[in-house]
Symmetry: C2
Subunit: 283 residues, 2 copies
Amino acid sequence: MSAEPHASTHSTQKCVGVWRGSERVAGLDPADRGLAYGDGVFETLLAHAGSLPWWPRHRARWMHGAQRLGIAFPQDSLLEQALSDALQWQPNGVIKLVLTRGAGGRGYTPGAALPTLVVSVSERPKTALPALSIDVLRCNLAEQPVLAGIKHLNRLEQVLGSIEAKERGLDDGLMATSNGHITCSTRANVFACIEGQWRTPPVDRAGVAGTARGVLMDQWPELTVAPLTHGDLQRVEALFLANAVRGILPVGRLGARDVDAEHTGIGLARALLADSHSGFRET
Amino acid sequence: MSAEPHASTHSTQKCVGVWRGSERVAGLDPADRGLAYGDGVFETLLAHAGSLPWWPRHRARWMHGAQRLGIAFPQDSLLEQALSDALQWQPNGVIKLVLTRGAGGRGYTPGAALPTLVVSVSERPKTALPALSIDVLRCNLAEQPVLAGIKHLNRLEQVLGSIEAKERGLDDGLMATSNGHITCSTRANVFACIEGQWRTPPVDRAGVAGTARGVLMDQWPELTVAPLTHGDLQRVEALFLANAVRGILPVGRLGARDVDAEHTGIGLARALLADSHSGFRET
């Protein structure tokens, strides 16, 4: 383990280390393409009792995103060392992994840069929240199949959506494509029950293929992947959000009406995540 | 003027300085939201004989972008000092200004962070290129009116477009929205002559409102803003690209056919930029 992680002055996030290729470096190059263009992919993982729930799923999505962008993926030995460092500093919390194409190239065209890896940790957010109050946001998601599903660093839509949700006093907001397909919340996948049938929207034109979503899709045969329109929302009986850090987040209020935050399907989804990893037993 | 700018190890770009709010800092915080989410706006300016062509236009677009994202704009005194430093290191070249929301906030929701300013310089790219060979790229632009026109840091589409252009042996590529509207090249605005009439596509749904484009729109009454479809491209007699660093770039080949790179309209556009600032006399 190396020196104590550097605390960001204005953030709860602490940097565990920065690597250029396989070499540990002192800090981030201001010419890094991650800053210049959002040219990279990231993962946000729960750390629980020194272990990483669903690490193979996170790694697979991260690697798939890197391949989609043509960024070399770090060696396993480097990742193991970096994650070991991170877990020693934050055995219970959140680990963030950012992989960028590195610094170099003329303008948008990449050069032969070594990729950059940034590993940081932060505290686990409060769990056991009350049921969320959400609504559909005015801020839409653009449809871009080439980037859909992966967790790339171009996240301005989510930032603007989060600002809108906060301004409107919402706990989170649902984001729709301009074609009216509700795709996800600003920071989680969405699951809706209509006429007794649970569904989660596809993420092949916008949104992120969440790891919690992947676990639920694998473990819950009755869950289907199906579009969710504005019209469908009027018929929703129950709704929850899910992501890899906060687990299952029941929704109690959707726009102007109440929805059933105690629905049996929400309990089932919680049980499935808890069965999948002990880190989700408390949520 | 401060210490000599730090040369990025794997880039021709040199960092002149990084500021957090009005305070000069040693480097970039790895938790900066510019890296995490592309949460910021940038400008790339020509420096010519110690002056900055079209600085008021660049500043206006940059400020407009910052306002759109809700990021505080730097004080003029700070900008003047930073630009003065940059011009001393690179009186003839390219200056890049990146403004981000800084580090902080929980996830996508911004906190009360001070914005980050990163100023860097690089050499001027070669001018007097031969006429470009371009084609329409397979990589589309997503339509996102909230972000269209401004020069934000979410540039993965341009990166992927540049990679495609390079792989196909093109000098640059035209990018269309999924609705088939040719909007810009990966790094410049596009101007096309059809039946003797010059037009440039609107940038209200995708693309960047270029400064060279703004100069031409103001100085060239016959230039109209009008959509450019795939079908229109079949009828194009002449075509050029323009941006604030390279000026006017005539196109000689569009897909499988030759276009008139010596068209009088291209000469006129060159003369208009040269009249606007001496930095564009050589192009």
